[in-house]
Point group: C2
Chain length 145, copies 2
DNA sequence: TGAAAACCTATTTGATTAGTAGTATAATTT
DNA sequence: AAATTATACTACTAATCAAATAGGTTTTCA
C-alpha cells in the first residue's frame, strides 16, 4: 500500500472544502461528519497541510478551514506528497540519508526510478478541479437516465 | 511503500538466476550470497514463485533453482504481483471482500483506479530480459570511458 | 550413509497505521 | 465577563505488518 488513510482523508477533506466553503469557512466537525472520518484523526492530518499553506483557518465561533488556493491550483501530487511521508514505491528511493550500498550498479534501481516517475506524473496531472468536474459530470448523468 | 523487500528480493533472485543458471541449477546459497540477501528469508519468498510455476527446482546434491521460462517471458508485473500480496496503491482497490461503503459515489475512486492502471501498465511493460539488456549496456559503457 | 540441497513452520522484533483521549488556546456572542 | 464554538497540540494505544531468525524435515546424489 502506497497511499494510506492520511493521504486519502486529506484529499477528501480538501474536496469537501472545495464543495462547501462558499466564501466562508467550513467547521471540521461538518466535513468529518459528511466524509465519515474521525474528526480527531483529521485534526492530526491537517497540520501537515497547514504547514505548507494549503489551507486557511480561523479559530473560534464560525471558524474552520477553507482552501488557500483555487481547486485548479492543487495537484493530487501536492496533497499526497504533503500528507504521506513519501510517495516513493520502494525504500531505495527515499534518499533521505539511507543510501543503498548497491545503488551504483543496481540493475533494478532504474526500474524503480521509472516507476516513481510514472506515479508522480500521473498524480501531478490531476487537480482538485478535475475531480470536481468529473463528479459534476457523474451527478449530471444521473438525471439523464 | 508499495513494493517491499519480498518483491524486490524476488526480482533480484530471478535476475541472478537468469545470469548464472547456464543450463544447470543455481543453489540458493550462491544467489543469496551474491545478492547479499538472507538465504532463509529467500526460502520463504520462493514458494510463492514456485506455486505459480515461475521457477523450476531440484532438491539434493547439485540441486537449486532455475527460471521456468525465458527472461523475456516474465514481466516485472508478473513477479511483483506474485510476491507482494497486491500492487494496489490504496486499500480501496483490494476488492477481496472489503468493499468500501462509499464506492458507489466516491469522487476519488476513479483516481485510484487510474493510478493502479498506470502502475501495472508500467510494470507489465518491462521484462526480465529488458533489465538484463540494460545492465549489459551499462557494463559495456564502463569499458568505453 | 553422509553431505548438500530444497522444504516447511513457528517465533521474534520493531516500525507503522489508524486511531482515541485530554487539555490548551483563540475568537465570537450574549 | 462568561459561555460557547472552534482549532491546536501532545500523549497514548491496539492491531497489523515487515523483515527477518531459528530449527527442524525431506530429497537427491556421490
Amino acid at each position: 500500500m502506497m497511499i494510506s488513510t492520511r493521504g486519502r482523508y486529506a484529499l477528501r477533506l480538501m474536496l469537501d472544502l472545495a464543495e462547501y466553503q462558499g466564501n466562508g469557512y467550513v467547521a471540521l466537525k461538518d466535513s468529518a461528519q459528511r466524509q465519515d472520518i474521525s474528526k480527531k484523526y483529521l485534526e492530526q492530518i491537517i497540520p501537515t497541510l497547514n504547514r505548507l499553506d494549503l489551507l486557511r483557518t480561523t479559530r473560534g465561533y464560525q471558524g474552520g478551514y477553507r482552501l488557500a488556493l483555487a481547486p485548479k491550483d492543487y495537484t493530487l501530487g501536492d496533497i499526497l506528497r504533503a500528507t504521506e511521508g513519501s510517495l516513493a514505491p520502494v525504500a531505495c528511493l527515499e534518499t533521505d540519508d539511507n543510501p543503498c550500498a548497491r545503488q551504483a550498479d543496481c540493475a533494478t534501481l532504474p526500474v524503480w526510478r521509472g516507476l516513481d516517475k510514472v506515479i508522480n506524473e500521473y498524480l501531478d496531472g490531476i487537480t482538485l478541479q478535475d475531480i470536481l468536474d468529473q463528479q459534476a459530470a457523474r451527478r449530471g448523468n444521473d438525471y439523464v437516465i
